[in-house]
Amino acid sequence: MKPRDIIKRSGRNLRQAKARTILTASAIAVGTFALTLTLAASNGAQHFVDNIIKNNFDPSELIVANDKTVFGRADSATPREYDSSFGQGLSSANAAIQFKQLSDSDIVKISAEPYTENLRKGITINLTYLTRAGQKKYVGVASTFNPAQHPDLSSGSIPSNLGGNDILLPEAYVEALGFKDAKDAIGKSIILTVRKSFDATDIQAALAQGLSAESIKSLGQTSVTELPFTVAAVIKKPTTAQPGTELYMFISADAASRLNDIATKGTANYHKYNFVYVKVKNGNNNSDLIAAQDKLKAMGYTAQSTADTQKFLTDIIKVLQGIVAAFGAIAVIASVFGIVNTMYISVIQRTREIGLMKALGMRAKDVGRLFRFEAAWIGFLGGIMGSVIAFGVGTALNPWITTKLSLGAGNSLLIFQVKQIAVLIVILMIVAVLAGFFPARKASKLDPIQALRTE
């Protein structure tokens, strides 16, 4: 019997038991629904992470630190010895952590390496506040502008070399600082302030003036330094920024160093950096990038590439997706029993038909095939039902999810790929065929004489 005839006949047989076929396929459809949405969410998350990487990182750069704690890879279960020269911060669980920072000598050493094209310090300053004449004060964070960043602008433009007093202001501050709109903010001045730490010089100066109420007051007045900046551009709320950096304002490396020096002078963090960006010569060539990364590791540093950062982000997403996919897979496995049951019932109900086909010369192999194709049809139908419903529901929910998760226009959590769905359906068909294996074998082994005698 030709395969085409077997396929047609198996399809016809299923059409004759529509309700049973649809119910059995529905069980598979539940699993398919979950798996299709998981795949779509995986695509969406991957796309989102890719955009974050593309819009925030230069793939030819390495992020270099002196301590793996900076990249969240510390052993948090083992006590760590205190070192007063170490920098301090907070873990994701808000626990105090210490980490060894990079010093100027480290920067000189790394800059001198033959693979280093240039080096940028990664500086992030927690401002005391930012304000504008006659306006309220707001808390904020200023960070070194990374040329790999491509923020969407509401107004203005980013100069090729960000000037010493230029600032890229997040859109959210426009109204807060009393500007009419983004355009109005361009070229206007705003004030960033940092708290100057006390150091020995300040105390000595105060003591030199004598310990009067006035000298103590003057010590308090010098504790905050205000620096004016000019708004070069207003940046839109970034949809693909690293989480938590949405309100970061960006300044030049020089300005960031200046602010950082004021804020850290006299502390253990003075001229210490959590990490630096090292642009590798021919860094777009993966082998050169890995070679540089290995050398930095050999020097005792921790170096993370864009791919590592991407992997770090996607690994978290993959774990969550794995959980959802596991539920989908369990649903598919449960549906396998439904197929086995349906196929066995079908074999029993069609015993005489099987006997007749065998009497007419149909080979046992073809009888088995007929039932396996029926199982494949059920898998196909369940796959189509589940994926079409998932596509419909996902497409309908995408705008709502985008708004709820603040993904920004043009970003969707659920991205459906036809090729992936097709592969999923083929896999489901294979699973269904495997589920139909034993019923098909029972059918193929039926004795035609006994089968024809069945009432």
């Binding site: 016809r12 004759q16 010369g361 149909m362 073809d366």
Partner: protein
């Protein structure tokens, strides 16, 4: 020529042993009409199953057109049955939810016949049994007589050399049964195929060239109306003779 030589078939073992066929031998010339007659349990169906290759004898052979059936491998046996044999059953065994066309198509699909040729053969077969007007009807919607005509169309569609009919009129009223018998014999003449009918019906048996009478698994008589001695015997006398041996 069909040669049945010393067939023996035993079911069960030891105390449950049942001898269904005992050392049966006879020959059937091509194009004959043959009735296998006997009471229930006489071995008629077992004989038909072995002659059609659906079952295997414990001893003896069945040779059809030079092919010893039970020496054929399974695949060759299936192919032989698909190409050389047609089957008509008492219970019709039509696929009720499929159309008349689809039912007749089954043996051709099994035989691997292409779609175009298949279409011609199905229509020709349905024309022979006068069911062309029901071609797209569901088999389940047909009357008993129509179902049996459909079963006949399915049996003859591959133009087999040998047609087995197991109690073909058993589920039909006498008028319809007579029509079916008439059709079977007409087809035997027009197609030239050998017709082997397993039946309780003496009237039907009397119309056949050869009447093989079984009793307790053994052949008690072979009446051949083609032999000079028996040619002159009327069908009434033949029936009487058969009844006497049973």
């Amino acid at each position: 020529m069909i040669e049945v030589n010393k067939l023996t078939k035993v079911y069960g073992k030891k105390q449950n042993k049942f001898v269904a066929l005992k050392n049966i031998s006879f020959n059937i010339p091509n194009g004959s009409t043959v009735a296998i007659i006997g009471k229930s349990g006489s071995g008629k169906s077992t004989l038909m199953h072995i002659m059609s290759g659906l079952d295997r004898p414990d001893e003896g052979t069945v040779t059809i057109g030079g092919h010893t059936l039970h020496k054929l491998k399974k695949k060759a046996m299936d192919e032989f049955r698909a190409k050389q044999m047609g089957f008509i059953f008492q219970a019709f065994f039509v696929e009720a939810n499929q159309t008349v066309y689809q039912n007749v198509s089954l043996p051709l699909e099994i035989g691997g016949i292409g779609v175009r040729k298949r279409d011609t053969m199905i229509k020709e077969s349905l024309e022979r049994v006068e069911l062309t007007d029901k071609i797209n009807s569901k088999a389940g919607d047909l009357s008993g007589g129509q179902k049996q005509r459909l079963a006949i169309a399915r049996a003859i569609v591959t133009k087999p050399n040998l047609i087995f009919a197991d109690e073909p009129t058993g589920n039909l009223d006498s008028t319809t049964g007579e029509k079916i018998i008439k059709l079977l014999f007409e087809l035997n003449k027009s197609l030239g195929s050998t017709l082997i009918v397993v039946t309780h019906d003496y009237e039907l048996a009397a119309k056949c060239n050869i009447i093989i009478t079984l009793k307790d698994g053994a052949v008690v008589s072979v009446e051949n109306s083609e032999t000079p001695k028996q040619k002159a015997t009327s069908s009434v006398k033949r029936v009487r003779k058969v009844k006497a041996v049973i």
